[in-house]
Symmetry: C2
Subunit: 253 residues, 2 copies
């Protein structure tokens, strides 16, 4: 067993986490065989590890015999600063934004080359969106993503563009040069917008959440294209993002 | 290393989870020394495990050198059925309840002898409450707790009473006989109430969420004692809980 391994899959602990990593949003329930295949470990090893993980509450067995992530792991995960700090501070402001606009309200952070959705509020008046809390979406096709990319180090933007900008709709910005110019405009105006770039029929507006000198998150609204009054929505978002940043600043002092 | 051990602390995987279990709501950030002490493992072992957990994203290092639960573990935890199923289904209904009443809205499940809060919504108009999502509270002093206990197997109620009913305020029901009679009333009336039994100045009302024949969760409101119009609040809660149960039923079919 190697300590501090950069390839954690090679250690016993690493194998346990390969088992947990076998689960994702598309496949939140897996059979033992599926776990063994996805984690690339022998069935006997998978069986032993799953037993250990279940006894600890990291996995739980469902009625149909398949496994899912357990309540205990969910509890521990909620102790992450992104939840206890950012999400808790932002939630009341997000509720107010939702009450006021009826739009989908989203809070996201950048993790590498993706936007991770920390929280999402939607109601009966809101249109369906593809994001979910804990889910990931591209940076160049979403309002919150553009904000996060606009305030990322230059090297991140270069690598992001170099990987290729996947086209989700005919309106997706898929040319690196156009995206770089768009990001400059996002910094200038103080908000980002998308017009049917992720999903036809949906538009979004997003603003940065500043904690001191750093953009720590992006706060956005997703509305039907027809209802998009971009500047008005940005004016509603800005004070909420400021209040969140101010509170985060005070809490971390 | 024992497979399927009932004492997971004895295995390598178990030790890794002892490290994660060292974190709790009161201490979400720990130094290496604190982790070693709380997990009851030698400092050198703690150092190696923390390194592995960090490389996997289960832990993250903060600016001050202490460790916290990492984003990757938070993401995996959100795949738990309690989040993807129950919480996602209930959230829009909880938002509506919050908009309508301005009260704290809570969703909880029973885990052993405690109520685990799956979600909590509060706003500027709400009074401060002690619950937080992922947090635990007693069953006999909270509205949601009474609902969950009222619908628990008789053996659970007996064990709960046998452990002793801690008194949080002068109004806490601390006599087992009184609690058992109260639970019968909860089943009869279809809702539970508390009057300053957890926190002086706060009252709560809660109803069960039925999925088929089972009570899978409790949905509650917490308000200022002075504002408590119990029957009215119960009438607002009931249709929301029914709608959640119906949706859960459909989704799991």
């Amino acid at each position: 067993m190697a300590g501090n391994s950069r390839e954690p899959g090679r250690t016993v602990t690493g194998r346990a986490f390969s088992v947990l990593s076998a689960f994702d949003a598309e496949s939140p329930r897996l059979s033992l065989t599926e776990i063994s295949q996805r984690a690339e470990i022998p069935l006997a090893t998978a069986h032993r590890l799953v037993g250990e993980l279940e006894s600890w509450g990291a996995l739980q067995r469902e009625h149909d015999g398949r496994y899912a992530i357990g309540l205990r792991l969910w509890e521990i995960g909620l102790l992450a600063p992104v939840h206890t700090g950012l999400r808790s501070t932002a939630l009341p402001h997000m509720q107010q934004l939702h009450e006021r606009t009826g739009a989908n309200v989203q809070l996201a952070v950048r993790e590498g080359m993706e936007a991770v959705y920390v929280e999402k509020l939607s109601g009966r008046r809101s249109i369906p969106v593809v994001s979910r809390s804990g889910g990931r979406l591209p940076l160049h096709t979403t309002g919150v993503g553009k904000v996060l990319l606009a305030h990322a180090p230059r090297a991140v933007v270069q690598e992001y563009c170099a990987r290729g900008l996947a086209r989700h709709t005919p309106y997706t910005i898929a040319e690196p040069g156009r995206l770089v110019r768009e990001l400059a405009r996002v910094r200038q105006r103080g908000f980002a917008r998308t017009a049917e770039e992720m999903t036809v029929g949906s538009c979004s507006v997003a603003v940065p959440v500043w904690e001191g000198e750093d953009v720590v998150a992006a706060l956005g609204l997703v509305v039907q294209s027809a209802r998009a009054e971009v500047t008005k929505l940005a004016r509603i978002l800005a004070p909420a993002a400021e209040a969140i940043g101010r509170q985060l600043d005070e809490e971390n002092r």
